[in-house]
Symmetry: C2
Subunit: 204 residues, 2 copies
């Protein structure tokens, strides 16, 4: 009913609003938030309308309450556990970045095929053998997986995760994954992104 891009913007708004809250700002206008987010004021209003929150004409939006509304909308009240597969260069960077950052969304297990890594705690996250993934994913009720494995195994790892109950995948491997419609895949394709930048840097 509400589609991908608005969700992404709500996530961004929330992050910006948290920053404002930290600075002690109590209320914010749509055009102000819009400028910070790099979108139009109409879009901010529309997005906020879509989640059922209402601002106050002439006072704008209450920062704290808007954050709360967005959080109610985006977050699972009980929190969600995330798995990371492929503890290589990128995987470790991501573990470092996300470790202990979000209470509602935490990476609770990492998997790799390299025995060097089994049993170790890397950036605060326990690393298991990929063979244990089905079991651990089920036990920890993990529904979200971050794939940082080489491209040639990405599809099989995705299938494995999905069989174990995963419903959403953040895929860093530069190959499109083929999954059933009930599983959501978000691709972060850095190669594509940098080629896009290169193209527009040249032609713009």
């Amino acid at each position: 009913m509400i589609s991908g891009k608005p969700i992404g913007r709500l996530s961004l708004y929330r992050r910006l609003l948290n920053g404002l809250m930290h600075e002690g700002v109590q209320s914010v206008y749509s055009h102000d938030l819009a400028a910070r987010a790099g979108v139009t004021a109409a879009q901010v209003r529309r997005d906020i309308m879509n989640i059922g929150y209402s601002g106050n004409p002439n006072r704008g939006y209450d920062v704290r309450m808007l954050v709360e509304s967005i959080s109610n909308f985006l977050d699972d009240p009980d929190g969600q556990n995330v798995a990371l597969v492929g503890v290589g260069n990128l995987g470790r960077a991501i573990l470092a970045f996300f470790s202990g950052r979000r209470p509602k969304l935490s990476i609770v297990a990492a998997f790799d095929s390299d025995p060097e890594k089994f049993g170790r705690v890397i950036r605060g996250c326990r690393c298991y053998s990929i063979d244990q993934a089905p079991e651990v994913i089920r036990e920890l009720n993990i529904k979200i997986a971050t794939l940082c494995v080489p491209a040639n195994v990405a599809q099989e790892i995705a299938d494995l995760c999905i069989r174990a109950g995963v419903k959403g995948i953040l895929n860093f491997a530069p190959v499109p994954l083929h999954v059933s419609g009930s599983v959501y895949v978000e691709d972060i394709d850095m190669t594509m992104s940098i080629e896009k930048v290169a193209y527009f840097a040249r032609t713009n």
Copy 2:
């Protein structure tokens, strides 16, 4: 004249086609390429039409020639140099990944504010002080920057790069950058992406 999303898809098609070429495949149908890319056949045909390449009814597209057409369209014939700013966890992962990968698009300089890193060669890429950036960027004719610096300095680093001649930025810092219309910015916002996945994993 041709906008962001088609460019991204062309980059993806090319990568898939290179894979096919490597396997010795000589020609490919729109629906086959479409399935691999996760888009519709009509879209593949339209995208290819847009860059002026023509296939052969009943034989499909010649893989080698299509790659060449896409490359002619996307790449600068003389190649483009890229700078990476912020040689932290993520920056090092990216350097490792891209080093010596693409001839037409190579990361030729890295910058950081940490004196520990000055003068070192990290993953095959020389690291300079951020203070030298304006000079080095000009000298190496760098028009593309990859930002892997902390969020609180991202805007000032972007401004610095742009003053030195950068026209395209790949921004990993989780803050929208404010730049003039002649500079292209592509954001990779992992926090947003993972929250999106979490949302759809929950609600799909």
